[in-house]
Symmetry: C2
Subunit: 207 residues, 2 copies
């Protein structure tokens, strides 16, 4: 095993990333309340000393991990926007993509951490902008995906409602069985589909 001779910046980046990802994994697996710094360090293949060197407190690590996760998700979504000639078709594609995003382990972790931040001021402060940022991202995506609806202010309330419903289902999904969630989502999806279809119809009549 020859020493890889990494540069300082590389070393730093690699261990940090390993820690951030291990944090998310551990939260997903054991739940935020049960996660220990030792577990995280172990999973990251890093000693507790190194861990503490980069992130002096647990909260800091967790907050950073969630921000990192968010960055990944946003990037991942931004990379392939929904394509299609039909407006409704694109909208439903977006809907499904939104759901898939919420049906992911990452969302579990994010939710746990967000919930925990309610009573942790330090954490809360750092996470304050994340939801705002998420909504901003979705908004931007809407504008890009539906240029024909540009300037139509009616779509944002619908977006928020859809997002809320998706979140509601996703939250139940944290504790329910996959089958029950699947069935619940099918039902809710049907309703949201109608909501969207009507909105698109209305908008194209107006436009």
């Amino acid at each position: 095993m020859a020493a890889p001779r990494r540069t300082q910046a590389q070393r730093r980046a690699e261990t940090r990333q390993a820690l951030l990802e291990a944090t998310i994994d551990c939260v997903v697996e054991h739940g935020y309340g049960n996660v220990t710094t030792a577990q995280i360090a172990l999973r990251a293949g890093v000693t507790r000393g190194a861990q503490n060197y980069h992130f002096s407190a647990k909260t800091e690590l967790v907050a950073a991990a969630l921000e990192h996760l968010m960055d990944q998700l946003i990037e991942q979504v931004r990379l392939d926007p929904p394509r299609g000639t039909d407006t409704t078709e694109r909208a439903l594609l977006l809907l499904d993509r939104l759901w898939n995003l919420h049906d992911t382990p990452a969302f579990k972790a994010a939710t746990e951490i967000a919930i925990a931040s309610r009573t942790d001021p330090e954490l809360r402060a750092r996470l304050a902008g994340l939801n705002r940022r998420l909504i901003g991202m979705i908004r931007g995506m809407l504008d890009e995906t539906f240029p024909e609806l540009m300037g139509n202010e009616d779509i944002y309330p619908i977006m928020l409602t859809v997002l809320s419903a998706v979140r509601g289902v996703a939250v139940v999904g944290l504790i329910g069985s996959p089958e029950s969630i699947e069935s619940l989502w099918r039902i809710v999806r049907g309703q949201l589909e109608q909501l969207i279809a009507r909105a698109v119809e209305k908008a194209s009549l107006a436009g």
Copy 2:
């Protein structure tokens, strides 16, 4: 201070209730992850010994507390069903009541505990039926409140969608500022209102 000479059943019931309520209060105030059994006992005005006598483990106490809370809420809701001549009017009344239920400290506690139960099998098992029970309650209430819609299967999907959306908003409400939640709810409420109104209209045409 003369001894009140309470009966055993009274003593038991009183300390138990004090413990259950203190548990909810503590969870609301400090968050599930930070709550300690000592805090709860202190708040309930009970020693840790008594606490342990009634609830041998923390999980047991928390689960019992949530069930107790649920009982209270269900009872409270069942006591005054929405009245009104107009179907839509009653539906909107129900919608607001549903939101008020979710905009309460009790919901915060319930959510925290539910989230925690994801990685706590013991807790999860005891809470498994609660959501089912809640939905059953809402279903029953729908049947009572809208006898004219009886047998119309279309309203359940809508109910689930509305419930999901309400929950989604409520979850954001856990960490957001009261103002931002108020404004979000107003927006979502507007959409749900339309959803409901359309459903009622359709149902009365069919009926």
